[in-house]
Amino acid sequence: MGPENLLLGFQVALTPFNIFIAVVGILLGTIIGVLPGLGGANGVAILLPLTFTMPPTSAIILLTSIYWGALFGGAITSILFNIPGEPWSVATTFDGYPLAKQGQSGEALTAAFTSSFVGAFFSIVLITFFAPILAEVALKFGPPEFFAIQLLTFSSFVGLGGGNPLKSLVTILLGFILATVGLDIVTGQLRLTFGFTDLMKGFDFVVAVIGLFGIGEILLSVEEGLKFEGAKAGMKMRVVLDTWKILPRYWRTFVRGSMIGFWMGFKPGGATPASFMSYAFAKRFSKNADKFGKGELEGIVAPETAAHAAGVAAMLPMITLGIPGSPTAAVMLGGLIIWGLQPGPMLFIDNPDFVWGLIASMYTGNVIGVIMVLAFVPFFAAILRVPFAILTPLIVFVCAIGSYAVHNSMIDIWYMLIFGVIGYTFRKLDYPLAPFVLALVLGDMAENALRQSLIMSQGSLAIFFNRPISGVITAFALFFFALPLLTPWWRKLRS
């Protein structure tokens, strides 16, 4: 375990074909990140069918590269157009857009891309070391432990997600319920189909992701009567180099942001709070605190570093435990299953070339990514100048193709549309979408883990508490679930 495996990984990631795949992925990903209505999760979902015929390692490199590209792309729209493509780029707009309006978009973009790169790199190094250790621990896990981890995953959405905890809880339950629709593989019975043959296949989460995030997002943005008013993207080599001379001054912000990002990021839904937390810390400790929000470079460094560290850290539970930390990681997990791999700790033993190829490609992908976005910013920014009446049908068309291709079925395009309306409604009413998607993905796994645990214990729930590891994890999960109830009580006690 360790360096020699990473070397093996680089041999896989650095073949000409895989480098080519990474470049294509980052290009597509950045375009996806820039386009309104498309982001990491649904971008990966739409392009998933393209990977069906590829070797698994190249396929995952394509998907992760799209993800890195989308993360970079989010920064472009935040800074130049004041449109956060993803929730975790909201904090980037605070100082990014003012800087761009002052004519310093080059500096702002350079700072954003560099910070993203540093944050991501920090997390990748940690993943390189922690992933094998975590996987080895996870090998000893039985069904109760896996169910406990699932509980922990969803409890953190309820306890730390912000918003109305009850609404988070309902979306989780709804996701799990939709996951049970169709054939129950254990008993062979049909559930919730009511005699409709179309329901027998159940709902595919890839289609749900495309609908919820893609179509839903488009509906939200047309409602606003969308108009883009962008700042100019001037990118000169001089500006990049000059900004790089300034950036080392903020090394504390870099370190702090990376640590916050990694720590928050390997828990689900962590990227957004991580970016805000890092921004708040930077403002608190900065000598120029009063300039924050008016165009302070450090105000870009802080959230971007944390968001990318978190975005990369979300991959850690996906590769080691088979439990994704974000909707994008969930779609990749779906990919693993389609390519015939078994997600979870056994990957490290059965498919070392895949795992280490993936980890090595994170290094190469981010290096290629930062160079590409720095070089082609004007091109990517030009995409947002495409008229809205062309972009909308184009995105819908691509979404429809992506939905159809998952199972070659037309009904999935209708589901996409229905999920689009659900996504639009949920977003407006503050029902969170990320836990909904994760529940839909993890539904079968969670149910199997629960069933097997209960069979082991003859139906007693005590099994989740009296095994040491699952006991600790379950206790944490219950604590997070109870957190929204405890917080007001705790505040009262202190005052």
Binding site: P49, L50, F52, T53, N164, L166, K167, L169, V170, L173, L174, F176, I177, T180, D184, V186, T187, Q189, R191, L192, F194, I215, I218, L219, V222, E223, G225, P387, F388, A389, I390, T392, P393, L394, V396, F397, V398, A400, I401, Y404, A405, N408, M410, I413, W414, L417, G420, V421, Y424, T425, K428, L429, Y431, E447, L450, R451, L454, I455, G459
Partner: protein, 159 residues
């Protein structure tokens, strides 16, 4: 906003009711070798009904805020939704009729939307509604070998 919130919570409760009904049919207790098929959905649905009820009470006690969507916003959303629905029907209508396939329907949809909403001139409308399906056709059908539903137009060209 409040009405929409109440309706959503009520719908979720109703859905929970349906799930409970189905779980009761399957059995949600302990079978010969473990929990029955209805076990997991049953408890999920029970929780969902209870929590939706709490949300319902929460919302109805709160004050009415701004509207869920203004009339203008609603029209804008429908102007996107209805063409998408037409596009899907055109590609593959329900029932015995055969559709145009995804590419041709997609091209028509793109052209229609560009002309109707964007008021682009006919030249760019025609150019794009031909180019986009053609490019996607070659990417999916020939390069990545992912087949899409095809109609008379593709058949006419021998695909």
């Amino acid at each position: 906003m409040r009405t929409a919130d109440l309706v959503t919570a009520a719908l979720l409760m109703a859905l929970g009711g349906i799930v409970i009904y189905d779980a009761a049919r399957l059995g949600f207790g302990w079978g010969g070798e473990g929990p029955l098929s209805g076990f997991f959905p049953f408890w999920l649905a029970v929780l969902m009904v209870v929590i939706s009820l709490v949300i319902l009470i929460q919302v109805s006690m709160g004050s009415a805020q701004k509207a869920f969507a203004t009339r203008q916003q609603f029209v804008r959303v429908l102007k996107v939704l209805v063409p998408i629905a037409c596009f899907i029907v055109l590609a593959d209508p329900p029932g015995p009729w055969s559709g145009l396939g995804l590419y041709a329907a997609g091209g028509l949809y793109l052209g229609f939307y560009m002309r109707w909403v964007g008021r682009h001139d006919w030249r760019s409308v025609v150019a794009l509604s031909l180019a986009v399906p053609l490019i996607t056709f070659f990417i999916f059908e020939t390069w990545f070998l992912v087949p899409m539903p095809k109609g008379p137009v593709e058949a006419w060209f021998g695909y």
